[in-house]
Symmetry: D3
Subunit: 192 residues, 6 copies
């Protein structure tokens, strides 16, 4: 109600292919609400499937980066790309995964001033370069990450997350995808 | 404790001139804590006095703009300038003054996607132009604001707030001024 | 031989999961060679599968845009992002699909000077905005496309192709993905 | 007469509060004319008072920077911000304070090519970074200034002058503040 | 003496080919000094000849633009390109040709705030676009100039002057070409 | 026929001054066609003469740079300036002079990923800096080239070619100069 969640059509659940609907129902049961990115992409089932398969391959599997670090990459690059959906939604996930109520806002506005380690700072320097100036990535960038102990597989992960959200940010901005109200407060209150 | 609030010296309260200390004590009594901008500027009493006199002239007096609207200008331009202190601290004040838990994050990331009126959108278009490309401000910008009912005095207010925080953002980024932890949650919970 | 096709590991075919290998063999049989993007992504099978599923959903299915028009979007945005692999490989595909030996170089360097229709010019204006300034996309951009007869579904297609290759360009630049020599001449000679 | 000195109202002297009028009369007696910045800000007495209090705290007091060096910062950053009033008016003051007829035009157009010391070059590198990319200021910038013998207090002065004129440039561009004709020739002729 | 006029070799007059030396002697007799651009280019006689032949074809012949207008284009675009030699030297020529002591500084810093006609403003808008974003020049830019009465031949002149000084600015910045001291004051004093 | 080769008048050969016509006839006899840059500039004979005299002085004479290297500079900087004529026409010449069918497309899109030597990479780094940020050229840039064995005369050549094509790119984009169809395939096929 009120502000639409997307400029594009949002199908009703019962209009969706079974696998798409099942995924949406599953996330609702786990999270208590359906993040709007699922509803915004649902009008294109093939793209929906590929998007979330890609997302899960990058964000959910084992990696040399922690899940919180991957969310830092999302939040920092999405801030640079002025993507409201991604900053708000992944900011919430970052707070939860890092168990830190402050980190998401710090990273979204200016990661150079955030309470992060030197290693994480190097990670975000590279992620931002991939996001904003990938054409200039070269040997010196890889060397800087190696100095902080990142392997080439880690470098791929950093760059691939930045690249995936370069796409995601553009989809969200193009469609005026609206972050759910639930995300804004999530992870900000101490667990009782 | 831990992360410093500024790269520069932070004097103890009893080292400060009386009027500076009195101002700091007054804000602490009102807010329950001392926003770090007061402590960061205190090592330069003359600049402290001028900064807050200017701030209050723009942000506290009567104006054709509501106080919440003036805070929107601060948050939107500070987001564009990647100023962590100003986005977090004035984001809190914006939530309180607008009685809206979502507006600050929306405006900070991308005001074009925020839940604001067409009039406020025009106000922020101008504020961002003053903040980022003031050299190009011209007749068409004034005409666009007049169409939305802004007077020339209102235009001055919009531009002057954007200009003042162009300074403030740079001071905060230069000094790595740290937003107080208290700001992050302020205004996010419904009043019971 | 000589210059590597990627900074990252390129597995041998017999090290790959069956479905990944099958896809690579199929493209080789159809095209006569294996485009290096298949080999560059193969070390990450899950990402490989999602990438090509997404690619095919956008580039191969029916759409209000012709396949040549979708390739124009790829070439124009990849030129702006200085992505050598995508400009060269998709330039070749564009020449083939448009049956036009000149169009790819024209669009890659400056689409505003290319031999395209006013409708295609509007399509590329939007694609470039999504690619470079998605945060500013708004009502006026949709209206401009509607004036040229594009439906909202067409607008999604334009923006989604631009967004997907925003990702792809960054992966290619990050990995120094090398375009196959075969692409450079493809589609340049008249069919005898 | 002819071209207005501001887009905004310019009050007559006898309409002004006593302290504002006194300040204006004093500057007129000292300089022989009233710089237009005094007249442009006079319609907002509280802002006028804070602006000049801040200006004087930064530009007139003792500092590790000479007054001429502080004017260099104003001229270089105002050139980058395309602020006609500040370049012309402070260019005049710089010529007078540095007793150098050439320096202001050199610094305004490209300080990297000006007849200044390596120390002053480092000072202006930092000032320009604060003016144009303050979000990126970090440890390396402080270290570079320390190498040239600047103390942290000097660094504050450099950054604070750059920040204050980031505000001033925007006020002048927003209001189309016109430099007085007197400034253009001031300091260009040898003292007889 | 002191600061060199170029990073590159400056030949003695008697080392130069006759025609190059004759040109230099002629300009010295006319102006009372040798503008450093002649000395800086003299080590490459063929480039010297082509440069001044081109310059004279654009700047000295009859045209729909006055000579002062052509100098305005030089000063405005050279300001945008931060070319100290061209702003200072051609600023002097502009003052002389326009018989206006203020116009050059105004145009160099921000032509949008200069005392020029609407027609001249349109002329400079186009010149700056050619200088900074020529890739975007299109039908609308030509239409805007036609509305102000410029013919296509005038448009060529505006663009060709902007293009020639795009080259000249880069040569001067690459070689650290130093403007002669004489230029700074030229045209600033009323004729007695 | 069809798309015009220029927005501006293209004179018939028999309307041209003898020397201009002779030059055009000579190039046609040598190349088998008349590159459109000759026809586009012909309506301004004095500018035509100066342009080609300058071009030949830089591109045809002996130099520490090979002719292929000079064409690399043209292609790389013209790609950055989105100049279709120069990328296509000089891309063809580069392929011929370097006897390399791939190099032009590589350099045009992203020279950092091209099959060039470290020395050529340094050459293009400098050329791009002159083309895009000449105002920042300084000692460190010269030192970097000297390390690769370039003399100061070589540095001049690199910068002067970049500067000349900064002009040429702007003329071509302003006039919508169309590359001849012949250029697109030239140098792409192995010599039999």
């Amino acid at each position: 109600m009120g502000t639409p969640i997307s400029r594009f059509p949002v199908p009703a659940l019962d209009e969706l292919p079974d696998d798409v609907r099942d995924r949406i129902v599953a996330v609702q049961e786990k999270s208590g609400f359906v993040p709007n990115v699922f509803l915004t992409l649902a009008h294109r089932p093939d793209e929906f499937r590929a998007f979330f398969a890609y997302h899960d391959a990058l964000m959910e599997k084992d990696s040399g980066l922690s899940k919180a670090e991957r969310e830092m990459i999302v939040v920092a690059t999405s801030g640079a790309n002025q993507c409201q959906y991604c900053v708000v939604a992944h900011g919430a996930i970052l707070r939860v995964r890092a168990r830190n109520a402050l980190i998401a806002d710090q990273v979204a506005v200016n990661y150079r001033k955030a309470d992060i380690s030197a290693r994480q700072r190097a990670m975000l320097d590279f992620a931002l370069k991939v996001s904003l100036h990938a054409e200039e990535v070269g040997d010196a960038d890889f060397a800087a990450l190696h100095e902080h102990g990142f392997s080439d597989q880690d470098v791929w992960d950093i760059g691939a997350v930045a690249a995936f959200f370069a796409m995601s940010n553009r989809l969200a901005n193009m469609s005026s995808m609206r972050p759910n109200d639930e995300f804004f407060l999530m992870g900000r209150l101490p667990k009782s």
